[in-house]
């Protein structure tokens, strides 16, 4: 148990027991309605504190940041070494070996061919018949975040928005609100107050920022179609992500 979790639990137990003592004393002995009500409200606050104690993260946020950044630095080094400039194509789990992954083509192609068969579980894969259709198949932060979803989200706009909200604003709490708009083979996702700050890294130009990567992974899984992060824009506390669905 982390110190913060222990503090909340102790606070919750203290408030609950104080509330029980106060309300019973006030009701049976003092015959005071306001003090009895105060005791009852203290019990409710105690229960909420206990709930907050259980919601504290097991791993400190600083440790999570270290793990995330070290992983991204490694991917960034590989991308720079190979001189990759293409945008990643996010593939659903039906096209890869079990989880959504990002395919970065080695050679830039404005109209990359869609893989026809399930790609093998390798770093360097051949995704189409032409000799130059080789790419890196990478597990991104978005690949693992889809495991948090209990079931595969539906392709409708409402289902996608609910899935994104459940993960990004609920479970991992990286944003305040999510809004999704779909149409013409494009998906626009508006993320309010993202908590991961955007940094100018080479890997972000290929894979998108970690939040954009998570959005693309969940979207590709929901639609069961390949998607590309076409545009990402940060302004005034909002992150606008535009995804292009590859038919």
């Amino acid at each position: 148990m982390t110190p913060t979790e222990t503090s909340y639990i102790l606070l919750g137990l203290g408030l609950t027991s104080t509330g029980v003592a106060l309300s019973s004393t006030s009701y049976f002995i003092l015959r005071s309605t306001p003090l009895t009500a105060l005791g009852i409200s203290t019990i409710i606050l105690g229960m909420v504190s206990l709930a907050l104690g259980r919601s504290q993260p097991k791993i400190p946020p600083e440790a999570s940041t270290i793990l995330l950044e070290s992983g991204l630095e490694n991917i960034s080094a590989i991308i720079e070494e190979l001189g990759l400039t293409s945008k990643a194509i996010y593939l659903p789990s039906s096209m890869t070996s079990g989880q959504p992954q990002a395919l970065i083509p080695i050679h830039q192609n404005p109209y990359p061919p869609k893989p026809k068969t399930t790609l093998p579980k390798r770093l360097i894969v051949k995704y189409a018949p032409n000799p130059e259709d080789i790419g890196l198949l990478i597990t991104t932060p978005g690949s693992t975040v889809t495991n948090i979803l209990g079931s595969k989200p539906g392709p409708a706009m409402g289902d996608l928005e609910a899935a994104l909200s459940s993960v990004l604003t609920g479970t991992i709490d990286l944003a305040d609100a999510i809004k999704v708009t779909m149409g013409d083979g494009r998906i626009i996702v508006e993320v309010s107050n993202p908590r991961l700050e955007y940094r100018s890294m080479r890997v972000y130009e290929c894979l998108g920022s970690p939040i954009a990567s998570m959005v693309a992974s969940i979207a590709t899984e929901a639609l069961d179609k390949a998607v590309v992060i076409d545009r990402e824009e940060h302004k005034r506390g909002k992150l606008m992500i535009e995804l292009k669905v590859l038919e």
Partner: protein, 73 residues
């Protein structure tokens, strides 16, 4: 706390009124802060069920008081 202070300033003696307002505030605040972490949601839900039961009991006692004129608490 503000609810308690306000009602006691008006010398309110009905305990069921205090409790009813607490329950309404609890549901409003938990709804505004959803979706919650699954572990926290479990305790919030259990507390919510218990408070809702208390609310139903208060409403039932009021209905009995109105229909039969008998005051149970």
């Amino acid at each position: 706390m503000l609810t308690t202070a306000t009602l006691s300033a008006y010398s309110e003696k009905r305990l069921d009124l205090y409790v009813s307002l607490y329950i309404v505030e609890y549901f409003i605040l938990t709804l505004l802060h959803s979706p919650l972490n699954p572990k926290a949601k479990k305790i919030i839900d259990i507390t919510g069920y218990a408070l809702f039961t208390v609310f139903i009991i208060i409403v039932a006692m009021k209905v009995i008081e109105i229909l039969y004129g008998a005051r149970l608490l």
